[in-house]
Symmetry: C3
Subunit: 270 residues, 3 copies
């Protein structure tokens, strides 16, 4: 049998003790598991960015994927497990953060509220569900415990809503949202490759971008090298969404962009 993959994502500081402890807890419950740190250091409590990161699970093996970004820690929001059509189990708080990923993973097959204390680390800290509820759930699932053993099913329509919907092209424009920004200052939009293809912008032709009070024209390129250093471009990113960047520069700094900002992309007359 292959080693099950458990991935961990959080807004904890990178390589801080919470991260190390979650790995230790997972291995204590299932020494056969392989823990991969998908991402840590996410902007504090930022559901947009966390949800977009969880979409990258698409590029991982089918596994047990934990997300601990939880503005509602210590409130009554539920801890949940979502089983996806592809066969993954997504584990985290019921705050919408797990929903966008399910759109890439074959949808929601089943959702369950975690209430069975048998599969929690005790005593359960009121402030660190990542260690005491979410990671143990992933580890027990990876050992073969069935999802229904953790608690009652929840109808998908009763789950908290996603922090963003996928943008839709409307005629000559798309209203979109900045859902993450990487270390290089490139911004990611809630526009899927498929939606962009429907928008039908030829490679190397230009679109007009409005972002706050700034507006600029930029080409739809295949990759950075297609524009000069310091020039902007929009292109298909490596995780199924549209990305805007400066070649060898920092777009978000130059244009003061923040996660959650809205923008509009328009076709330009030729």
């Amino acid at each position: 049998m292959k080693k099950p993959i458990i991935s961990l994502t959080s807004d904890f500081g990178v390589q801080t003790q919470g991260v190390g402890i979650m790995e230790a807890v997972a291995l204590q419950i299932n020494p056969e598991a392989k823990v991969i740190h998908l991402m840590h250091g996410l902007p504090d409590f930022n559901l947009h960015c966390a949800a977009r990161t969880m979409e990258a699970v698409t590029y991982m093996p089918i596994g047990f994927h934990v997300c601990v970004v939880d503005p509602g820690v210590g409130t009554k929001r539920k801890p949940i497990i979502i089983e996806t059509g592809r066969g993954d189990f997504l584990i985290g708080p019921d705050n919408g953060v797990l929903i966008p990923a399910t759109r890439f993973l074959g949808g929601i097959k089943k959702a369950v509220e975690i209430t069975n204390e048998k599969y929690m680390r005790k005593p359960v800290s009121p402030v660190f569900h990542g260690r005491d509820i979410f990671t143990p759930a992933a580890a027990y699932l990876s050992k073969g415990i069935k999802i229904n053993g953790f608690g009652k099913e929840i109808s998908p329509k009763n789950l908290a809503r996603a922090p963003y919907e996928e943008a839709k092209a409307e005629g000559n424009k798309i209203n979109a949202k900045v859902i993450s920004i990487n270390k290089f200052g490139s911004i990611h939009l809630n526009i899927t490759h498929a939606e962009w293809d429907k928008f039908n912008i030829k490679l190397n032709s230009f679109v007009a971008l409005n972002l706050g009070n700034k507006s600029l024209n930029l080409p739809h390129s295949a990759t950075f090298g297609d524009v000069a250093n310091g020039e902007p471009l929009i292109f298909k990113d490596d995780y199924g969404k549209m990305e805007i960047a400066l070649n060898m520069g920092n777009f978000s700094k130059k244009y003061s962009v923040s996660i959650g900002d809205e923008c509009t992309i328009r076709k330009v007359a030729r």
Copy 2:
């Protein structure tokens, strides 16, 4: 036999080469070991913060735990191994950084100075004992080499002192120290849950905090969600100590708190 756990903690930059090389050295000596990065990127040379992080070993499986935070690298301070009552081996410099953890791990069973060059990586760099002395010691211990094989025993009373003692309640007040600050700006004090329980502050009742020239009243809450956004609270953290935070805010920034700062907590009349 279960795979032995080796944990690594340092003030090296997160995911920098020193960290990766220590993992490689551990696996070269004991390919069966599982290396967990407990924490890296600790504030440079900060013994308070490092010692508090090592306390979190309590939440890990019994194992071989290395700490490389060493203001005295290249001086005559000894490299040591401490065997704990619980059965862990703590490995690092004799600068007090390993002592607070032993209070949570069943005390010091035995301490040894590492002098046997047979278990060092050669040549031994005068500046990177983490790679050449501490990590190899952990890896050889994890393979079953006995602690007495590394060097002569040291009496615990001859070890360097801890960077902090545990605070004690004195009547209506506790003088405490800030021993770490996390990414969210929450501060951790050297007050154990047990000591706080003796102080006997009812849940949701208020205490007065003096910190430098600032003073404020804040409730003893169970968790963030018990106070409004932006409001302060004191609560039991997830590692056995008391924590002060702002719900959805950054306490240390707002009040300019640094590690090592002293504070006083007083009961308030009702």
Copy 3:
């Protein structure tokens, strides 16, 4: 058979999703491999710093070492594999970043351009060769696929040049370059221990350093503790090069040093 070691180095943000995904891709192809993160978060596109980090492979077991620092992503620069005299395989872009490491690893035994799509992750993203070309190549090599299976051989003399050569002593001086700066603000020069030994500066005697418009005298010490707090020193670093630092201080901040800066070290009259 021992588990093969795959190491990953990049200028991605530490513990960001690109890093986690590369680990997942490696394990999907070769579940028996052990992935070590040598370094991430390197300065964006900085070939000096990345090349120097790859030199640290010398301190790792023989393995499959990937470097993803690639100012030319999306241009025509080739993806390559270099087999070293020691038996490692270095995988990355043909931009010189892999060359300095080969000087420490027994030279270049063979170099190959990766063109065989059979060993790529598909579809190949034009912007994330780390995930789709380099990491898969490392993983397939680690499973025993021969280097010649990936594409045509390239003559070493046709590879892109290294970002720096090793400095050479010329009479009473050495012209050198700052090739990396660590979290503590210590700077690393392109002067090997062997070259320094030829320069023949006695331990604890002084040299004169010129760096931009600054000049200072500093001793050749064995380690930090040999000088007072806040004082500068030059010493043999832990990776085969010369390092300049302040004991318990930050040299690069104090003297405003950047990677790529040039400097001159001179013998001083006694």
